[in-house]
């Protein structure tokens, strides 16, 4: 079951939730719609489900135009962010609902529901009411209910958003295993980058109703197509620099940039990821001007296995953040006031105007 979304636009009043969005979802893949609130990702998901209608554009399912098809006929499985379990029905009846409205015979219903409860590891809890379940259990009931009707595509709206961190991680891994078993085309919405990367085959980064980039998690992270993508995925330091002759210059330090071989110098924005910068004590390094930047440590914050060091380059007002493994940080004995040298391992350059990437 593949989905093709073509030039979909959706407005809520004057607010453009989706602006000319086109997307292909391959059969059997697990796709993440990733973006901040207001990016349009949930709206897009709901349009695929038929719970919202696009103003313009089409949706196709395996070649058939389903744009005007009502939600109840689309055979999609939708898992709501807050589960939307039928509060007055038992777990069993919740899962059975889709089957019952199709007048499925009782024996068949029972067999299928029990199979599903086993699948989501809730066997024996069929008699409980949703209010008697934990959040993670409710989410699994919602999932079982959605796939009970054998939908052609499974859609999940921030499925783990309301759950505790530990439960989230467990359910994430469990969902991936489930997808690998069933092989149903699935699309889920999240604002959590880690979740998208861990779960999805492909990631679609959205912002302000537009698709910024689409690709595998590696592609999107290592080769961000736009400044937004780079900024959204992980933390980033942004600086003004310039490009000329196949090199970008950041504080005088040259970085290879073959995409701009011209002699004409241009202003550029240099993006540096905190963990792609190396720190070394200034006294130790044979300070070769032009390869590393001298700076003074302002603040050291340890956050588990990573230590963030905020530095101020000499002669600059702005802070630069460098992430260093905590073990390394201990060896370096950094403290506010120490002098360090910062060497960039990698950088990305975006030129104002047409964007180029290293």
């Amino acid at each position: 079951m593949s989905i093709h979304i073509r030039t979909v636009t959706k407005h809520f009043g004057t607010f453009a939730a989706l602006d000319d969005v086109s997307l292909d979802v391959a059969d059997g893949s697990l796709l993440a719609l990733l973006g901040p609130s207001g990016s349009g990702k949930t709206t897009l998901l709901r349009i695929i489900a038929g719970l919202e209608h696009a103003d313009t554009g089409t949706i196709e399912e395996n070649g058939a135009d389903i744009t005007d098809l009502h939600a109840r006929s689309r055979e999609v499985g939708f898992v709501f962010q807050h589960y939307a379990l039928f509060r007055h029905m038992s777990v069993f009846e919740n899962v059975a609902f889709g089957l019952r409205v199709r007048k499925t015979p009782d024996a068949q219903v029972r067999a299928r529901v029990e199979e599903l409860l086993r699948l989501v590891r809730l066997e024996g809890l069929g008699g409980r009411k949703p209010s008697q379940l934990s959040g993670g259990q409710r989410q699994r009931v919602a999932l079982a209910r959605a796939i009970a009707i054998r939908p052609k595509i499974l859609l999940l709206d921030e499925p783990f958003g309301a759950l505790d961190a530990k439960v989230r991680v467990e359910l994430r891994q469990w969902l991936r295993r489930l997808h690998d078993e069933i092989g149903m085309t699935s699309v889920f919405v999240t604002h959590d980058q880690e979740e998208a990367f861990e779960l999805a085959d492909r990631v679609v980064v959205m912002n302000h109703g537009r698709i910024e980039q689409e690709g595998t998690p590696d592609e999107v992270f290592d080769q961000p197509a736009t400044p937004f993508v780079m900024d959204f995925l992980g933390n980033v330091n942004v600086y003004h620099g310039r490009v000329e002759n196949g090199r970008a210059f950041w504080h005088g330090i040259p970085i290879d940039y073959p995409d701009y071989p011209h002699a004409q110098a241009r202003d550029a924005r240099v993006y540096l990821r905190p963990h792609e910068l190396d720190l070394s004590p200034a006294t130790e390094v044979w300070h070769r001007p032009g390869t590393s930047l001298p700076a003074r440590v302002v603040r050291v914050t340890r956050s588990g296995a990573v230590t963030r060091v905020a530095c101020r380059p000499h002669g600059s007002d702005t802070e630069l953040h460098v992430d260093v493994p905590s073990d390394t940080a201990r060896l370096l004995t950094l403290e506010p006031g120490s002098n360090v040298a910062i060497t960039p391992r990698r950088a990305r350059v975006f030129l104002p105007g047409p964007e180029y990437v290293i």
């Binding site: 038929g50 719970l51 005007d68 098809l69 109840r72 006929s73 499925t104 078993e181 069933i182």
Partner: protein, 296 residues
């Protein structure tokens, strides 16, 4: 290991009345039932509310401004308005004041019988007004349970203006209480404690910290009581004696003129009363909206 036997038999798609929506851009709603519910609602609202009241207004308007005034502003009618407004205002004031006391007690103080008192407040809402009128009148007549002591003291509760005020107070009391009670319950006690710690006396705390907080609800309760009192008919009929110019309220006048087939007077007075009620409704709604906004 998750074992999942994939059963390939397809599941039937549920039959739908509107599986395909003919013609793009018609935008059907996702949730069902818009058409049916809109039809029922508009038919009922129109035929039961808009149409009858419009007929009333148009009938009165057909008299022309001069005719309207002549019919609606007779001396007897003027007296009726005065009695209605006067008694309702007094009742609303009393209702708000006494209601505040009861609401405060219910919201703040725990005592044996609290639940019972709370339940009793709703009695006037459930009790038929005719029963209330009957009982009040029997209570305050010279031979009544209360009348036997009050009448010698000169307090005539039955067949008097006082009687009207009493029953109006009865019917409007729950409105005053139930609007103010939840607001008192949700007051932020911390601000009161802060005031006490800063040295304010109990009275000062009440006047400066508490009262401003409940003032919107208090005023809303007053308006609701007034609206309820203005329209009241059933209970007043039993207790007022319905003496024109003295204890005849506007609704009683309307019925009286109607029974004498004086349609012009009946309709015009009714329209005036309607105008007053609708104005109060708008006022109350605005107040309640502001109340809701302040609560956030």
């Amino acid at each position: 290991m998750i074992a999942f036997a994939i059963d390939s038999s397809p599941l039937p798609v549920p039959p739908t009345a509107s599986g395909r929506v003919g013609g793009r851009r018609r935008r059907p709603t996702v949730l069902p039932g818009f058409g049916v519910s809109a039809a029922i609602t508009s038919i009922v609202v129109f035929s039961m509310i808009v149409f009858p009241l419009s007929v009333l207004v148009l009938r009165a308007a057909s008299l022309g401004p001069g005719g309207f005034l002549a019919a609606a502003w007779t001396p007897r009618a003027r007296a009726a308005y005065a009695v209605s407004l006067g008694a309702s205002l007094i009742a609303a004031v009393l209702s708000s004041a006494l209601g505040l006391v009861v609401a405060w007690v219910l919201a703040r103080i725990r005592f044996p019988g609290h639940r019972l008192l709370d339940a009793l407040v709703d009695v006037p809402l459930a009790l038929p007004t005719a029963v209330a009128g009957l009982v009040y009148s029997s209570l305050y007549v010279p031979k009544g349970w209360l009348g036997q002591w009050l009448v010698p003291l000169g307090i005539k509760g039955a067949y008097s203006y006082l009687g009207i005020v009493l029953v109006l107070l009865f019917v409007s009391l729950p409105f005053a209480i139930r609007v103010v009670q939840p607001v008192i319950e949700s007051l932020d006690r911390d601000t009161e404690e802060a005031a006490r710690i800063l040295g304010a006396s109990r009275l000062q705390t009440f006047l400066r910290v508490v009262l401003p907080g409940i003032l919107p609800a208090f005023v809303t309760g007053f308006a609701l009581s007034l609206a309820r009192a203005l329209g009241e008919y059933g209970s007043v009929v039993f207790i007022s004696g319905n003496m024109p110019f003295k204890t005849e309220i506007a609704p009683v006048l309307i019925v009286s003129r109607l029974e004498e087939f004086a349609y012009a007077e009946a309709t015009t007075v009714a329209v005036l009363l309607l105008a007053m009620s609708l104005t109060l409704l708008i006022v109350v709604n605005t107040l309640q909206q502001r109340l809701a906004r302040n609560a956030q």
